[in-house]
Symmetry: C2
Subunit: 347 residues, 2 copies
């Protein structure tokens, strides 16, 4: 097979690289007055509030090029950011992207990353409005900042949960983590027996949750449509345990989470079984679910229980600092944070 000639980044130079990478992006938001191509982007705003968030993805820490594609990494880097915007009850409108790559990356490789970024931009209706491209001595870093808007007074914070509120979570938990475990296992197999092609056909869902997660745009739209205003909200990036502790601690409340209410996908359970991991551990501490965790007043119970994409998993209590998981056999277990740790990454 003839190998395609790849373009070295230095052949093109920075400005040409940026011009090429961004030319497939169009802007869709009226608020985007000036996008890529000046010192800064210009964003219009009327009676709205601007929401802004940023995340950094690092090769070897947040992704592994052995089993993730560059396109997926581009897509995911956008999703993890706009998930934070949705978690404020806001609508993402613009992103900026900064990338540092070593010279082992070709222009075509960068282009793949941007194809993934563009796919996410289109899926969520956000405009790429700026960025920076740099070389690195080693390793690949991608930093995304997302800007969103929300009507005045409609932003939902994490520190405003109220006693007796219902604790709700969208989708299911633990799948991205089990997808990662599967990939890690197959990587080890591949390293010891090169050439073996892993069979992933039974595990498409958990792999997709790990490699190409989506943000819950639909849930934010549903809540707005049904006039449901969460009292507090956060997205699940570090695992349910870590996030519910954030909500309770910052709201100065306690909580009870019921193990038997945790939404767990069939494939997550299967994989847990294969690897001898408790599905509850995956759901509580796995992370990277990018689901929304939110609290709503008890009086909204009738409304919320109708939605199949939302599970009620517990309730907020006035017992500050007492955050418990109630197991299937009725035992109370204190919830502890098992989230990301700066230098002791769980991956």
């Amino acid at each position: 097979m003839k190998k395609q000639k790849l373009t070295e980044l230095s052949e093109l130079g920075e400005f040409k690289v940026i011009e090429n990478l961004t030319k497939g992006f169009s802007t869709v938001n009226k608020s985007t007055i000036k996008g890529v191509g000046d010192d800064a982007a210009v964003i219009d705003s009327a009676d709205k509030q601007t929401v802004i968030t940023t995340d950094l993805l690092v090769e070897g820490i947040h992704f592994d090029l052995t089993y993730s594609s560059l396109k997926y990494i581009g897509y995911k880097s956008v999703v993890v950011n706009i998930s934070d915007v949705y978690a404020m009850n806001a609508i993402p409108k613009q992103i900026t992207v900064s990338i540092a790559v070593s010279n082992r990356f070709s222009f075509e490789a960068l282009n793949e990353i941007y194809a993934g970024i563009n796919q996410a931009c289109k899926a969520y209706g956000v405009d790429l409005v700026g960025g920076d491209t740099s070389s690195s001595k080693i390793g690949f870093f991608i930093s995304v900042t997302a800007i969103g808007e929300v009507d005045k007074g409609k932003a939902v914070y994490r520190n405003t949960a109220q006693t007796n509120d219902l604790i709700c979570v969208s989708g299911d938990l633990g799948a991205a983590y089990m997808g990662l475990q599967l990939l890690e296992r197959e990587k080890l197999v591949f390293e010891s027996v090169p050439g073996v092609q892993p069979d992933f056909s039974n595990y498409k869902y958990i792999l997709q949750r790990q490699m190409r997660p989506d943000a819950r745009k639909d849930v934010i739209e549903l809540l707005a449509e049904k006039n449901l205003m969460p009292t507090s909200m956060i997205d699940i990036s570090d695992g349910l345990s870590s996030e519910i502790l954030h909500v309770c601690n910052s709201s100065q409340k306690g909580c009870e989470i019921h193990e038997n209410k945790l939404p767990i996908h069939e494939q997550t359970k299967q994989m847990s079984d294969e690897l001898g991991i408790e599905p509850t551990i995956a759901a509580m501490n796995g992370g990277e679910d990018y689901e929304l965790l939110f609290t709503i007043p008890l009086s909204d119970y009738e409304k919320i229980k109708e939605f199949k994409q939302i599970s009620i998993i517990g309730n907020i209590t006035d017992k500050k600092g007492k955050m418990d998981l109630i197991t299937e056999n009725g035992v109370r277990v204190p919830i502890t944070a098992q989230g990301w740790n700066t230098l002791e990454n769980k991956k």
Copy 2:
């Protein structure tokens, strides 16, 4: 001398690290509704436009820890960003900061970086409103996004220069570049003869311009105060040549720059002399000046010539694509871009 016990980042964990690093930051802008501590920051806006820009600084590419302090790097990472906001004729209000460090960095080291960031926040009246901290396998990366505001219709772009406009530049050019050359030379000396202490006393200005540059807040304020509205503007990060080409190409104009009008500091000339580099080369192609390059209508000549911090260095012509430097002996030399190049960094 007793060595201070340093705190490993893993001892503290991500959340404690962030809490500690950000606790010395206070917010000063009324528009900062919600800062650090939720999924995203919330920024208020009335009849203004929001300006947003981002820059990535990479160890070994944009800075060298052999001769720059962590505090200066923190300071500079903010300045290079808000310089872009000023270049839009906007006022920076908020920043987010993402940092990736390897485990050779202690908490105290990160704290130094944040001390520099805080210093810049205070100097320019901007609020730190979010960020991300991650580990890296190797190397140190810092990505800053700055958000600013500008009255509707007052943003100044780079593609709107008009024929016969005067080309103006603030401060002086080439000093940061010569500061870098000096540091590189002394590093080589130090590597061959360890223990030799370099004498930098005659070169404080050019070193400061390299290690701890400032953005031209004062110039933007002055222009507003004097009711001077540039027709186009850009900040000088990649060197005057590169920036004037951006302005002319995007405005579809040409220009004439007069070599004898280029503002060059005495120390820049001295250092150029010592190292056998043409001061004009340093001024045109050096970069990292973070001065403002802007154009104003000829009719504002009387107003602009009064300001000692602004030099008129040439004029815009209708000769699209013809960008010339007119040397001291009257020779026309076409200006070519010598700015940053993604993977062939001039450093």
